[in-house]
């Protein structure tokens, strides 16, 4: 048992964790969105996106176009929603834009989902990002981790143990 070696391993673990965090925050600044990568949780955009698909977001555009798939947040609801822009109204004088969205697989538009009896979303306030890229199914790992009580601890424990016990 060498104390210096053990401490080095601990330092390595911290390094891995902090660099992952930095990567995430860097990507966040690059895309100007607080969550630049999201995992699809519902089937409202099927067959375009299924549960577990990974989406890459971009939020440096000033205006959304009709047909864009956007991720938006509703006040008081923790889960962001991925839907397509059905209508947009914007003024050339002010930089305000109103959007109406709808899920491809839903029958009606999203007005029933909006908070505070609103009938439109605002681009600058409500939109988290526009979907630019797509990777299928890999997000099931995070769904499994967040929805299974023990999976989180198992994953954390495995990561911690492997970096502490592994020989350099």
């Amino acid at each position: 048992m060498n104390l210096r070696l053990e401490l080095t391993k601990l330092l390595n673990l911290c390094f891995v964790l902090s660099s992952t965090f930095m990567m995430w925050k860097g990507l966040s600044i690059f895309a100007n969105s607080h969550s630049p990568i999201v995992v699809v949780l519902s089937g409202s955009m099927e067959p375009a996106f299924q549960r577990g698909d990974i989406l890459f977001l971009w939020n440096r555009n000033v205006e959304s176009k009709v047909g864009d798939i956007v991720v938006y947040e509703v006040e008081g609801k923790p889960i962001p929603i991925v839907h397509r822009v059905l209508r947009e109204h914007h003024s050339e004088k002010t930089n305000k834009q109103f959007l109406l969205t709808k899920g491809d697989n839903n029958a009606g538009n999203d007005i029933p989902l909006y908070a505070n009896r609103k009938v439109y979303l605002q681009k600058d306030k409500d939109i988290v990002g526009t979907v630019k890229g797509y990777f299928p199914l890999l997000g099931y790992v995070t769904i499994w981790v967040t929805e299974n009580k023990y999976a989180k601890f198992a994953l954390l424990g495995f990561l911690g143990l492997s970096s502490l016990l592994g020989d350099e």
Partner: protein, 204 residues
């Protein structure tokens, strides 16, 4: 020297970098295929656009505080062939018929609205020949009235790949109409007819 950890990380690194390479090849070749089959210049004809109007007071039809809101629904004819959008990395194509127009009270406001859309997942469904097709949506404007606007119709598409970036495009061939009530309804209500004519002359 060759511990399980090392073997594992080597395998993980290799599979990640080869995976990225394969994705890049898939994205590159499928995009080249789209370009070479001229998928960005598909021709389209839209015609026979007939609007119907209804006054709604529900929030789900755009009304706020029960104020009457004019809703428009369309029937239309449409012809196009989008088979060139289907290649080996195409999961689905989402086509949507949009109209662009300016505000009447506030001409600085630009609007784009969807009247109809369709999800196409197979190549044989990609030939669209629609006659008197009903628009899917009741459409309203920010303003209460929607009549007498100049609408420019165009068909857009969004290609969803199996993996890679989403691709957007437009077909060639736009159609413009002015939203007016059909003749029959005008005769019933003479007062409305006059107001429509007045507005039309102001627009000109």
């Amino acid at each position: 020297m060759y511990s399980i950890n090392q073997r594992f990380s080597t395998v993980a690194n290799q599979s990640l970098s080869y995976g990225l390479l394969i994705i890049a090849i898939i994205v590159g070749t499928s995009y080249y295929q789209l370009q070479s089959s001229n998928a960005f210049n598909n021709l389209i004809t839209i015609g026979n656009i007939n609007p119907t109007f209804a006054i709604r007071t529900s929030r789900y039809y755009g009304s706020t505080n029960g104020k009457p809101k004019e809703n428009v629904k369309l029937t239309f004819d449409l012809d196009t062939d989008l088979t060139s959008l289907f290649n080996w990395n195409t999961k689905q194509v989402f086509v949507y018929l949009v109209a662009e127009y300016k505000g009447q009270k506030h001409p600085a406001i630009s609007n784009t609205v969807t009247f109809w859309d369709k999800i196409i997942t197979t190549k044989k469904d990609a030939i669209l020949h629609l006659v008197n097709e009903k628009g899917k949506y009741n459409v309203w404007d920010l303003e209460d009235k929607f009549q007498n606007r100049d609408l420019e119709f165009s068909l857009h598409w969004n290609l969803q790949p199996w993996v890679g970036p989403l691709i957007y495009g437009e077909t060639v061939g736009n159609t413009s109409i002015v939203l007016t009530k059909p003749e029959k309804k005008k005769k019933k209500n003479t007062g409305q007819e006059e107001s429509v004519k007045e507005n039309a002359s102001v627009d000109e």
